[in-house]
């Protein structure tokens, strides 16, 4: 990579020189009278600079990819090729400067190309995510039976080999924590949204809405620390131990409760949008028939908004399933299939972190399993998101 820096700097210098050369040449061609030109000198200059810089830059990107794939190192020949590309682009565009040259159109074609490249990065990210995980997951299933991975009930990695890597206990922990989080967040978030949009006066709204939104802006590590130092010991000392449920400070309940707090703003702001999208005429009709506001909300507004609310809950569920820091610090590390919410359990995300930090050996199934876990997580959350977005979008169109 280092050996490409010099030619790239040279190309950049050439582009800057080309810019000024083209500007003066355009003026000369026009005989000093700008009005004779179809495109302004600046447009010629821009065209030359872009013609000089863009093809070599694209070549460098392609070559870097190729060099990585073929394990080769960039050599002098390649430096020559990109320098040649730059010089040719510069020379061709300089020679092409005539009074009737449409430099603006040419320059804008380059820019459009760059814009398209920028928007393709989103696609490339997705492709990168899928391929990076698919590739290693195939490696993993080459060493470990996929039936054991999906259906085994034990998770006990052992770095001397002979590990049990069943995903079921991890999925159970994930779903249990998410379920408790939603049990907490959905009623609170929903009622908060209903109250704020249907009952609250402007004074309360101006205080409560930003306060709830602050919760959304707090990083998850803060929630994780909160679970670890405050909620966990509190639940253990006042609930788990007196009631005989166990002595663990990190538990499904700890993580679920704190994750619930994190999800409140998520549920409430999405529901708020959806409730506000229900037309006022429907409320007025119900109130006009003599229903109380709460009857109107329960029997008219909520049923009308129901698909959207379901979508919001699904989005929140996908958030909960993919959440990492709260469960890493709050839920524990022991893979367990148990119903007791005050016991430490672990989740898919926790195990991804623990298998990929510290000493990793990318040939052993104990490390590679993290990619299979990641892919499973990605597929689950993607499915939930696509489904939820579909519902939300379909619903929004209904009243527009």
């Amino acid at each position: 990579m280092q050996s490409l820096t010099t030619p790239l700097l040279l190309i950049f210098a050439l582009a800057v020189i080309g810019y000024f050369l083209a500007k003066s040449r355009a003026l000369k061609v026009a005989g000093g009278d700008v009005r004779a030109l179809v495109s302004l000198p600046n447009q010629h200059a821009l065209n030359t600079a872009l013609s000089t810089a863009v093809p070599p830059a694209a070549a460098v990107l392609l070559f870097a990819l190729y060099a990585r794939l073929s394990e080769g190192e960039p050599n002098w020949l390649f430096s020559l090729v990109i320098l040649g590309l730059g010089v040719t682009g510069c020379a061709l565009s300089l020679i092409g400067i005539k009074t009737e040259t449409r430099a603006r159109t040419y320059a804008e074609r380059w820019i459009l190309g760059l814009l398209i490249f920028a928007s393709s990065i989103a696609i490339m990210t997705t492709v990168g995510i899928v391929f990076s995980m698919l590739f290693e997951t195939f490696n993993f299933f080459g060493q470990y039976d996929w039936r054991d991975f999906f259906f085994s009930l034990t998770w006990s990695p052992n770095f001397r080999g002979d590990s049990d890597l069943g995903i079921i206990p991890l999925l159970w922990g994930t779903l249990y924590v998410s379920f408790i989080a939603l049990l907490f967040a959905v009623p609170i978030g929903l009622f908060a949204a209903i109250y704020l949009s249907e009952y609250a006066g402007p004074r309360l709204r101006s205080v409560a809405k930003p306060a709830i939104e602050v919760l959304a802006g707090i990083p998850t590590i803060v929630y994780g620390l909160f679970a670890l130092i405050t909620v966990g010991p509190l639940l253990r000392d006042y609930f788990a131990e007196p009631m005989g449920f166990g002595q663990s400070a990190s538990s499904v309940m700890t993580a679920g409760l704190v994750m619930g707090i994190m999800l409140i703003p998520f549920v409430s702001s999405l529901s708020d949008d959806i409730i506000n999208a229900v037309p006022q005429a429907m409320r007025d009709g119900s109130l006009g028939l003599g229903a109380t506001p709460s009857e109107t909300i329960r029997q008219v507004v909520i049923p009308a908004a129901l698909p959207g609310i379901v979508g919001a809950v699904l989005l929140a569920a996908s958030r909960a399933i993919g959440e990492t820091m709260i469960v890493v610090l709050g839920a524990g590390a022991a893979a367990r299939l148990s119903l007791n919410p005050f016991e430490a359990m672990t989740t898919v995300t926790v195990k991804i972190v623990s298998q990929l930090t510290g000493d990793t050996d990318f040939a052993s199934p104990e490390t590679l399993v993290a990619f299979a876990l990641g892919l499973t997580l990605f597929v689950i959350t993607l499915g939930l998101n696509v489904f939820a977005l579909y519902i939300v979008r379909k619903y929004r169109e209904q009243y527009e």
Binding site: R104, I188, I194, T220, P293, L329, N385
Partner: protein, 439 residues
């Protein structure tokens, strides 16, 4: 049966009660949410505020020549051969002398008294001496870090009862410390080191600081700003202004809204597989962290930029086109400047999000123990290529250590992080209020 309009019947009463109940549910939901926020913030503040204070012992130390400069040449290279272990006796002698001067009698051995000073303090003295060899032979008063347990005593974390059960300190030591504090030798002061010092090992929480983490986070934010902003704006311009409505652009749109909801840890796996294993960038480097966070922030920036572009009325574009501008010129000369405040606000909020992100950074090795300040550029490691940590990862790191003093440090680091986020969000809100135009 006669009914009156003035007295409500049983059914109406029931309905009104249901109404009141429903309203109470709504109000209590809001109260619970705000209470949760309040408890969260108080918990972090009460645990963390004490980390901004630190206990120091101020001692006159005799920098005897035969101890620190055996050759007597005042040559820093030769003097560097005396390690911190060679300086420890000087500190021990100083505190023993100080205790005697104060007229305190104690059963503590000299070693126990020496252990009241942080193990980091010897390095502080040594660095001062190496930086200025002329100090050798003189007696200089140093402000030395007190050991973690002593510091904890003055912050209320360690008490005489807990010290009795603790192998690292004793009630006698705390009593001596209290006496020295009464005499003004031990003082608790504002802790600048917390923001500038690098991380310290497990045995010396009193010396641990956020210097490396703040620097690493800063580098990553620079990478994110310089990559995510141009790429995000360019792709929003294309999608909003130029893209034809067809299958491919539909796919890109759905793709971006899904990327915004991909769990952050998946980006960590991507970074590990692509940037570290495939492209072979340095592990734990701010460059890789910045790239991963860039990909994570892009959807946020694209979504807010598109909203900002959409809010510029079409008449602006039409006017530009009408006087002969090309489509590209109308966008770059008119629409983009008008959308700039909105784009800036979205970018700052995206950066704030990236600053607090932890999970992906764990996977690309930023949990490593780093004591060296990373340089922005070195010929060997390249741009932002030196190992570093980040603010939220440092918090995670400290929570994994057993000494309770690190809980205080972690909470202090969280407060620092939240202050940064608060500033960024305040700037974003200010910009929106100041420059936003309603058409």
């Amino acid at each position: 049966m006669k009914t009156s309009l003035l007295a409500s019947d049983a059914r109406t009463k029931k309905r009104n009660a249901a109404e009141a109940r429903f309203k109470a549910y709504g109000l209590s939901a809001i109260v619970v949410a705000m209470l949760a926020l309040a408890i969260l913030l108080t918990s972090v503040l009460t645990n963390g505020l004490s980390s901004f204070q630190q206990t120091f012992i101020s001692l006159p130390i005799e920098l005897a020549e035969e101890r620190v400069d055996k050759q007597g040449n005042r040559d820093p290279a030769e003097m560097a051969r005396t390690t911190t272990i060679g300086y420890a006796p000087l500190l021990r002698a100083a505190i023993v002398a100080e205790v005697e001067r104060q007229g305190l009698t104690t059963e503590l051995s000299d070693k126990d008294l020496g252990d009241m000073i942080s193990k980091e303090a010897a390095a502080t003295v040594r660095n001062r001496v190496l930086a200025n060899p002329d100090l050798v032979g003189e007696t200089i008063t140093f402000d030395l870090l007190a050991a973690g347990r002593i510091d904890g005593y003055f912050k209320g974390r360690v008490t005489l009862e807990t010290a009795a059960l603790d192998g690292n300190t004793s009630p006698e030591a705390l009593m001596v410390a209290q006496a020295l504090a009464d005499a003004g030798v031990i003082e608790t002061k504002f802790n600048w080191n917390f923001f500038t010092a690098p991380d310290a090992s497990v045995q010396r929480p009193e010396a641990a600081g956020l210097g490396v983490a703040i620097l690493g986070s800063l580098y990553m934010m620079l990478v994110v700003l310089f990559l995510a902003l141009p790429i995000g704006v360019a792709s929003s311009i294309y999608l909003e202004e130029f893209a034809p409505k067809n299958r491919i652009t539909d796919i890109i749109e759905v793709n971006i809204s899904n990327l915004a909801a991909v769990p952050s840890i998946v980006y960590g796996i991507l970074g590990l597989a692509i940037f570290i294993n495939f492209m072979e960038f340095n592990q734990s480097s701010p460059l890789v962290g910045g790239l991963v966070l860039t990909l994570m922030t892009l959807p946020t920036i694209i979504i807010s930029t598109r909203a900002a572009l959409k809010s510029v009325p079409p008449s602006i574009r039409d006017a530009a086109l009408g006087v002969g501008a090309s489509k590209m010129q109308s966008v770059f000369h008119h629409v983009l400047p008008l959308a700039a405040p909105g784009i800036l606000t979205g970018t700052i909020i995206g950066l704030a999000q990236a600053l607090g992100e932890t999970a992906p950074l764990l996977l690309i090795g930023m949990v490593a123990f780093v004591r060296e300040y990373p340089a922005a550029y070195t010929p060997e490691a390249g741009l932002f290529g030196e190992a570093s940590t980040a603010l939220p990862v440092q918090v995670y790191n400290w929570t994994q250590r057993s000494d309770p003093a690190f809980v205080e440090r972690a909470s202090g680091a969280i407060i620092t992080l939240l202050v940064f986020l608060l500033i960024m969000n305040a700037v974003a809100i200010y910009l929106r209020r100041r420059f936003e135009r309603r058409w």
